[in-house]
Amino acid sequence: MTTFTPTSAAEVLSAVQWATADETPLEILGHGSKRGIGRPLQTEHTLDLSGLSGVTLYEPAELVVSAKAGTPLVEIEQLLAENGQQLAFEPMDYGPLLGGETGKGTLGGVLAANLAGPRRLKAGAARDHILGIHAVSGRGEAFKSGGRVVKNVTGYDLSKAMAGSWGTLAVLTDVTFKVLPSAETETTLAIRGLLDDSAAAAMAMAMGSSGEVSSAAHLPERMAARVLDGKLGGDPATLLRVEGFGPSVAYRVAHLSDLLGNAGPIEEIAGEASKTLWRDVRDVRPFADGTDKPVWRVSMPPADAHHMVLALRMQAAADAFYDWQGGLVWLRMEGEPEAELLRALIRKFGGGHATLVRAAPAWRAAIPVFEPQPAALAALSARLKAEFDPKNILNPGRMVHSSDSATVAGVSEGATP
């Protein structure tokens, strides 16, 4: 058991080349803040990138920041905040949910897990803001993709290929993100007392209005009491965030209150409280309970997801709340994960996918953590993995069972005329 702690891209390259030559799998790690997500790994060695740290370029006027992959996210966020800027996709912090520390995680990990936050509706995820990467493939080769400018279609977008790849394609050494100005001010409207279906309708109406809502979440009964230190009370709360310049926010808040006035009583939550509220939603505070009760992250068409939740609750005990206008459902199961039931209901009620982000290791080893894909797509994904990592040494088996991907290793060799 060896832990490599490289401090330069050249050292990362050497370590991967050694592992490639020896066909020895590596666990790729930043701070390990999301280590509990995915199928449990059984690797002898660890490549710890936390020493590969530091901002390499930050030009506020050009809206761009580059840093070594192991740079702490909090360091980047602080630097940007000093200049009135931010990562607009507000990457979530899995720490509270997984029972770890808050404020951990690296910039490379943000991309590898394709993190996002409540502003996903308007601003997208890490994949939408990544401009360029430097990385080392499982072949033991250092390559780059993209650049440092916002608009670029030169060659395939391998930077996006890294988004949500969980360290299974290449080891990131340097990442460049687009940054944006932070909003001058924000106000959240909380419509109280709505059931899930009325909340879905209210959120769809708000998102389809010219109120330019940047986040829409629904906390059903009991969930509302678990954010903002309980100050919101226990009644259901349907939350709409309005951000921007002062006069614009005031106007849009009035517009939305008018539009949704009949839906239920509306409260306004301004400034710091609003920020804290959305951070709590982002970081899944309602389920940060210190247990390892199974938690699912479900992505579905926003207006359809509540039908799935209702059907699920007929058959299993579960708590749920919604972000992304309903398009992101966080589910905590009282008992077993019920993977097959859940995934069948997702297919039935509009499609999408479910990831088991928290569960005891035995569950994560026994059932597919990531959504199983149809055969043709699974084969394509496996071929892509093999083209980056033919010896299957980078986080093997984290996303799919190793033997599944091993069968297609070295595709390029065999598939030539």
Binding site: D128, F143, V149, V150, Y156, D157, P181, S248, G351, E413
Partner: protein
């Protein structure tokens, strides 16, 4: 055609042409197969008209099953396929090959679903970019990416090229506005990536497909995000004595936390050409003209216009006009949008380039261009998506003067080399295609390009889909897959710790 070598036509395929055409008529019955030379002329080039080539046969399928059967047929028989949407590519992405089937997707022209609660339109790939907005605008919605060719270009082609437009600093490129696609692989398999939910599962193959220039798969369905149209939009027309001052104004606007809906810059030759053409009332005594458009609720637009105006004057603006009506706003844009045809009036031909640079390098790149313009003795006019650093130099030449086209291409290549040198890239939104293919090594080394080609191998291991585009040198997938074990140079033979 100038000096770009395309893959050598396959003699075996050409010798079986009649048989292949007959089989195509079985796969796509009816009027969907075109093999008469005079009828194929319409397809011999795309928006990059300097390059022309007749295809072996043109096929216009109508169903996903037909696309799947066609690709499977060609894959099994080693026949090349070039996909084409509306044929508006400016980089030769849809340039036919002599021995290839040209697969034209224009009959896939239906809107499949409009879903307002989820703010999604699902369309077939041949629907035009503007067609999507047209389908939803009566309800106050629109599709944000708006390439200049939006009347004609197809949404499938937009996915292939990751198309941009003047609004993408605020609203993103195609990649940020597409939620899902259905596509057919070269082996005939039909695959769905994403859908109406906000993110696809597994690897971001949707991200890889977007901008892959028709080399990885054929898109047969697209789900896009639609947005509520902003309540108002107003534009400012700002003139500066120097491009430096204009550039600084752009930086200060962004520095103030303002991301305008559109922010375009033109240089003196472009201003004059446009003003002579459309009489938009552009000032003629300035070196740089900035159009800044602010959109959103009226109170927000009024607030920001005031801020931008102050920033403009602080940076030495000599003129600053605010649109007083929707009519006047459109007039401000008319000159910019007509910049290409306007330049077409002052020169027999023009060649449009598409580099992106870090914005602060604008003065240096403009100076470099002036120098090159002198060396090549060809004029150049510049329009510039100022917010995101995407330059469109228009090189003026005369195709009837022997050697002028080659000179224009060499001039263009030098401009793009300059873009890369200052930290930019070869293409911001038009794609590599055949046009910039041989310049790829300016930006990428062999390892970078090999890894991109390996991605191609995962989708199309026989290099049959749109070969000769994007990559300067095609390498067999077997060769690319070979591992060179670096054991000999291992720095850490004994499992070291750093």
């Amino acid at each position: 055609m100038s000096g770009i070598l395309m893959p050598k036509p396959d003699a075996a395929t050409l010798s079986r042409r009649d048989e292949i055409v007959a089989d195509m008529r079985i796969i796509v019955p009816g009027e969907g197969v075109v093999d008469a030379v005079n009828e194929m002329r319409a397809f011999e080039s795309d928006g990059l008209t300097a390059y022309r080539q007749l295809p072996m046969v043109v096929v216009l399928p109508e169903t996903v099953a037909q696309v799947s059967r066609l690709l499977k047929y060609c894959n099994e028989r080693n026949i090349r396929v070039v996909p084409r949407g509306s044929g508006t590519s400016l980089s030769g992405g849809a340039l036919p090959l002599e021995d290839a089937v040209l697969l034209v997707m224009s009959r896939f022209n239906r809107i499949i679903e409009i879903d307002y609660p989820n703010r999604v339109v699902v369309a077939q790939p041949g629907v035009t970019n503007l067609g999507i907005t047209t389908a939803v605008e009566q309800d106050g919605f629109y599709y944000a990416p708006d390439p200049s060719s939006q009347i004609a270009c197809s949404i499938g082609g937009n996915v292939a090229e990751n198309s941009g437009g003047v609004h993408c600093l605020k609203y993103g490129l195609t990649a940020n506005n597409v939620l899902g696609i259905e596509m057919v692989l070269m082996n005939g398999e039909v695959v769905r990536l994403g859908g109406k939910h906000l993110e696809a599962e597994g690897y971001d193959l949707l991200g890889v497909m977007t901008g892959s220039e028709g080399l990885l798969g054929v898109v047969t369905e697209v789900a896009v995000r639609i947005l509520k149209k902003p309540e108002t939009a107003r534009a400012l027309l700002i003139g500066f004595p120097t491009s430096e001052e204009g550039g600084q104004c752009v930086a200060d606007i962004i520095g103030a936390g303002i991301i305008p809906g559109g922010m375009e810059m033109m240089d003196r030759p472009a201003i004059h050409a446009a003003e002579d053409f459309v009489h938009a009332g552009y000032p003629l005594d300035v070196e740089a003209l900035l159009i800044v458009e602010l959109d959103g609720p009226g109170v927000e637009v009024d607030h920001l216009i005031g801020l931008v105006e102050a920033i403009a004057y602080k940076n030495g603006a000599t003129t600053c006009r605010m649109s007083q009506s929707e009519q006047e706003r459109l007039t401000f844009w008319a000159g910019r949008k007509a910049a290409f045809p306007a330049v077409g009036r002052i020169s027999p031909d023009y060649y449009c380039m598409d580099g992106t640079i870090p914005r602060k390098e604008l003065p240096r790149v403009l100076a470099g261009m002036r120098e090159l313009s002198g060396q090549y003795r060809l004029g150049v006019a510049n329009v510039f998506h100022a917010g995101d650093g995407n330059l469109h130099p228009l090189i003026l030449y005369d195709a009837n003067v022997p050697g002028d086209l080659e000179k224009a291409e060499a001039f263009g290549a030098d401009i793009l080399r300059l873009c890369v040198k200052v930290g930019g890239v070869l293409t911001g939104e038009h794609g590599v295609g055949v046009e910039k293919r041989d310049l790829m090594p300016e930006m990428f080394n062999e390892i970078d390009l090999d890894q991109q080609m390996r991605v191609k191998c995962a989708f199309d291991p026989n290099h049959l889909l749109n070969p000769g585009k994007v990559f300067p040198q095609l390498r067999r997938c077997a060769e690319l897959g070979r591992m060179h074990v670096h054991r000999g140079q291992m720095a850490f033979p004994d499992i070291p710790r750093f």
